[in-house]
């Protein structure tokens, strides 16, 4: 009985903590190497992050 109560008491803060985590903490960073196909006679050399859209 005592040990069961201890488990319950311990579980409450864990539950609260997991809900309090910001959304970004559950996200992972992924780095992918991509190739931009260039048939204009020169490399596509000046692209920035704003030029790419990633879709899953």
């Amino acid at each position: 009985m005592t040990s069961l109560r201890l488990v319950r008491v311990a579980a409450i803060p864990l539950l609260v903590f997991s809900f309090a985590l910001p959304a970004t903490a559950r996200q992972a960073q992924v780095t992918a190497m991509v190739t931009v196909v260039s048939d204009s006679g020169a490399p596509a050399a000046d692209l920035t992050a704003a030029d790419f859209v990633v879709k899953e």
């Binding site: 992924v30 190497m33 190739t35 931009v36 196909v37 204009s40 490399p43 859209v53």
Partner: protein
Amino acid sequence: MRAARINAAPLFLSILFDISKPPMGTPPPVSDMGSALASFVSKVRAENPGAQIAFTEVAGAAVPAVKFGAPPEDLDKAISRLFVGQHSEATMLEGLLDTAKTLAGQSAMRKVILLVDFGSHDATRTATANEALKAIQNAVATVWSVSIRPGNAPSSRREAAVKAAVESTGGLRLTAVSVTGLKSLLETTADSLSSQYLVTFARDGSAPISIDDVRVESKKGHKVLVTSLMR
């Protein structure tokens, strides 16, 4: 999201070039082949200062003519001496297997295998082709294919394997019906290999991600290929 062009990162490029004998009555396009290849190499070197280029001639067997680490003049010399062999087939898939094994030992991020063929017959066994596909995955290399296939070229078992290799690694397959199109296709290849970026983005969860899970688009209308290098 972040994006950074990586043309300054070392590029290990291995070219497998079909030198099989053309069909009876077709003159060997040695001059077109040599000038297109020289132009391609020049473009790659200009935009990728750390590029190392290996060159393998393929007919009855895949014979390495220039290995990684060789002086640039060796490659220039090999291209200027390009010839067409006596075998009417080119074992490109065997060469692909050998090259993938070599590239597996390189720690560089940018590893590319470029196959250039002229629609020749390829008698490589299916088991070897499958082994080559596994070796490419293991090497985390990208496979590109430039194929000159006249309308009357016989179908080859090479086609399916090359298609699978290109699509599973994020490479590109370019084709033309005449060798006069070779220079243009190789220039597109060189410019594209000089347009590689590392794109970093956030995603929900930590489940493994593969090339099939992600699509990257360009707001400027470029086609963007996601390679198998993803972490």
